[in-house]
Every structure is written in C-alpha cells, then in structure tokens.
Amino acid sequence: MSILVDEKTRLLVQGITGGEGSFHTQRCIEYGTKVVAGVTPGKGGSEHLGVPVFNTVEKAVAETGANASLMFVPPAFAADGILEAIDIGIPLVVCITEGIPVLDMVKVHRYLKGKSTRVIGPNCPGVMSPGKCKAGIMVGEIHLAGNVGVISRSGTLTYDVVSQLTSLGIGQSTCVGIGGDALPGSTFVDILELFQADQNTKAVVLIGEIGGTTEQEAAEFINHKMTKPVVAFVAGSTAPPGKRMGHAGAIITGNAGKASEKIKMLSKAGATIARNPSEVGLATKKVLERL
C-alpha cells in the first residue's frame, strides 16, 4: 500500500499544454503514471502528448474518470484552478505552482471547508509512490519502492534524502512534498495521520524548516497519536531572523519559527533527530533495525 497516489490513480493535468506542464507530464507518463486527461481552457478537443485535452475540469472528469489533478497553472490563475477542481469534488489536487498570493490561498482554504478534496502544495514537488505513480516533478530514478514514508516542505533537499535512503536499500512507501508556502493545503499532521494508518509504512522521515508552526503541531501528533517511529531534520538553524529564505513560508518572525524550537519539540515527542542532513539516511537505517 501507499498513500494518496497508487496504480489506481487516474491523473488529470491542469495546465498540460504549458512549458512546465508538458515537460513534467511527459516524465510522469514515462514513469508509468496513468495520465488520462489534460485541461487548458481554449484548447479543449485537442490532444497533447497523446492525452485528450478539455476546456474544463468538469468535462475532463466526466469523460475520463480522472481522480487526481496535478496543477501547473501560472500563479495568478492557480487558485482559480484549484477551486475548479475542488468544485468538481476531485479527491486529490497536487499543486506545483510557486508564487500564489496568500490571500488567494485563504479563499481556497475557506472553500475547502466541508468538502472532500485534499490539496497538496502549492509550491511543492508533488507526490510519489515509487513503482506505482509519480504525480509531481521529482526525479523518478532516485526512488525505490519500500516501507518508509517521506514528508517534506522542500524539494531538492528531499531528493538528497531520498537518494540517501535508496542507496542504503531503504525503499519508500510514498514521498509527499507539502510545499514551502505559508498556507499549505495539507500540513505535516495531515500526512502523518495517513502514514500512521497505512499498513505498508513502517517509519516516517520528516523534513521540516524554519517558519510557522507545522513542525510543532507535528510534534504534538507524534507524541500522542503516532506509534510508528519518525526521523526528523529541520533546515535553517543558521537562518537569520526576519529574512525569507527562498520559500514564502520560511521566515523567522521575532522568536517564532526558529529551527531550535522545532527540533526541541520534535525531539521531546520522541522523534529521532538528524543533526545534519547527510545523516538522515543512516539515522533511518538504525531506526528500522530496531523495529
């Protein structure tokens, strides 16, 4: 098993005809993902990369039975695209787009209340269940199917960690990039819940960073609800306060959002802390050996 995406995922790509959309859709197809539809308003009725293109998400879902959407829509229009997908009741939306205004995401979250759709991202690498489905922009080859769940706010740092795991022979059940924005669609806690319930996941690697409180909330969850071991690394110990470190959500304001605070709480909750990012693989190996 895995979480969020698997061999039953029928992927729809919003923004399939754009540069990024085209490039990564091709990579997803090559990986074996079932890409069943694309949506680009104005290009309905055409075909792109061998995939039928529709004007609306509604039509695409009705005609192809798509059950997940991968978004490459430009930032000014992305929130509207997410709303369109939520409106149809698609179970999963994975939004890659970076640079969506915060107030647009406030609207999205408001609209999500009482709805069944789960949003991953924005500003994320996507979701990957090795050997089953790649719904994102991560490099396929570095992954290996297995029993460790990975959750991260970062892209390339996750690739580094995943390739450490793979080179040690540790496979992954699912890798989820929740994204670097201030208001992610899903939080660490949301994904930890799924991994805790997933029979195939034996341990979880969590890659956090400065800014916000999602790691602190994760610590609470790990402390009270998690029976599976968690290995954690938090990036940004050396980041100066008041500076946005690349990601919109990665900023220390006053004393809030510091890496030290997050590490302290995760450690107290029983997570194994990797003090340096190149030790995450070995730390996970040790944790698995103790199971």
Partner: protein
Amino acid sequence: MKVHEYQAKVLLAQYGIPIPRGKAASTPAEVIEIAAEIGSDVVIKAQVYAGGRGKAGGIKTANGPAEAKKAANQLLGTRLVTHQTGPEGLPVSTVLVEEASNVARELYLSILIDGASRLPVMMASEAGGMEIEEVAQSAPEKIFKSYIDPAIGFQPFQGRKLAYGMNMDGGQTGEATRLMTNIYKLFMDKDCSLVEINPLVITANGKLLALDAKLNFDDNALYRHKDIQELQDKEQEEPLEIQARDWGINNYVKMDGDIGCMVNGAGLAMAVNDLIQYCGGRAANFLDIGTLNNTERVVNSFRMFTADSRIKAVLVNIFGGMARVDVIAKGIVEAYEQMDIPFPVVIRLAGTNLEEGQRILAESGVRFTQAKDFYDGAHKVVEAAKGVAK
C-alpha cells in the same frame, strides 16, 4: 515587501483611518517649512525599514523652527541603528514631520494571516506602545483576537468584542469598529501580510488616531499592485541583495560568514548553510538559483561571489531535478572564462544529467575540488576557507 511609515499612513488615510497632520521631508529646509505650516509642537520621525526607532533616538520632538532644524540635522543623512537593524544601521534620507498629539491612552491593533486557522486575524490590546511579542509573554490576557471569515468579511460584533477588550467606553466602540472595518478592507484590497498600528491612540479629546503604522505586503501578490511596488525604497535594503535581484537571482540573502554558496532549492540551500556551520565554517550567503535552466544565473552567481570581498571559498551544491547538472556545469565553465576567480571552489553535483555535467567540467580544465556528497562538500569548503585564512 516593506514600506515607510509615511507611505503606510497615506494608505491608511485613503481608507478613512485618522492619522496625525503631517508630511514627509528630505531636507532641513522642508522640515522647517512643514513645522511652520503645522504651527504647534511637532514630532520628527526617521523613516527606516525597522522598528525600535524611539529607543534608538530616531524620533524627536521640536517646538519652533530652530528646534525643528536641529532635529532634522541630527537625523537626515545619518544611519540609524536600532535593535532590528544590525550594527551598521539604516540610512535616514526621509523624515516624517507630524503634529504632536495629546495622548490619553495607547492601544494596539493589527491584522495578519493566522497560519493555524488560515484566516485573517484582527488583534487588539490595551497594552499599546510596546512590542506585541512582549505583551504575549507578560500579559497574554490583554490580547483579544477576532478571526475573520473572508466570505462575509469583518463584522460589527467582532469590532465590539475587540473594542470592549481594549476597555473602550460605549461611545468609542462604534468609531473603533468602523476603523477596524476599514483596516480589514485595506488589508484585503492591497494584499497586505501585516497592518500594525502601534500605538493606536485615544487623544485627550477622545478621538482615535493611528500614531504609528507598519504595513507589509505579500511579495507574491505585488504583480497586481503596481502602486505598492513603486513605493519600494531600495536604499533601505542590503546592497548585495539588490545586486543579486538585478542579476536575476531572486533568492539571495546575505549572511555573516566567508563561504559563498550556490545551491538549487531553498531547503537544500538552508541545509547547506547549516552543514557548513556544523563543519566549523560560516556561510556568506544563502543562494538558491532555482530551477531555470540557463547558464546566465550560474555565471551571475559567480559574479556575486567575486564582487563580495568577504568570500574565501565557494561551495556549489546541485541536486539536479528540474535543474540539469550539465547546464550548471556549462555555467561554471563560462564563469571561469569570463572572470578571474581568486578563491578555491568545491563542487558537488548529483541528479539529472550528472555524467554529462562531470564530463563538461573535466574537459574544461577548470580547477576545482570535487566533493562526493553533501557532507564531503561542506567539510572540504570549510577546510579550503581555513587554508586561505592562514
């Protein structure tokens, strides 16, 4: 993005929020003129992108043209150091000259996005004039919050709750609610990330007045607010960070060490800086080149390093995903062709098109130290920087 207090107050006034009578000035002559126009006692406030100005001597009162001139001379053309600026301070090129107010009570009011509820939250406190973080520590019961549903907007009952929370009397709550409604409107219209009025004062004759104002804006939304973009004062920002942006490197932050870093991805870039410190060195910058596949940004990153006299060694750490290693390698070779690179360079490459990238570097004859992984790269660059220091 930040703006100056005087610019924030112009926006507040546009939304019907009362502010003291006053104007911005950039010369002592202008200061005297505005002070004369106002007639009474004036307050002269240094305009810098930082708080803590009062304690740092950046706010002065003056009675009459002679005192106004003296205060103007003490502030204009200097650099103001506050607890938020760092030791080098920020340049004072503009001051705000305002009518001095007769203050009866100092309150606090702000609005921002709450990460947990993902809603705008209006916060009010009767403990105005001090930093809200301090109030949250010492007297959290004095902070009142209203979470706003964007579907229906700010509601009068929320205003009353906050106004009574600030111990206003019945006559003031209506005015306070109107003011809060307008602040909410400003916040939403202009894509603010923060509107903070500290202090919001009640004057001796019972009127509400925004005595200070801090406005921050969501960088991701600036594309739809050209008027706000134009307010940016580049002089208030770190010159190296301005330079980086001009060269197309949007994710650059100056740090206080001597090791230059070029990384793809923000999380990885932060982790590289952490690892350098773990290995006993200090990074001179955070630099995420992003995922754009062109060599120019790589060349410009090296331009940044050669322009930065602090740099003793450079670490390039690339994990190719969207970014391709061969393109990065070409960029490095171009940088060596275009400029004299006086410092040792350690390179760690992994991911998409690795072999091609390694071949390009090997065949170019460029001198560099190869690192086999993340840790090895950090370790080697710290050693290299120490070697240069000796």
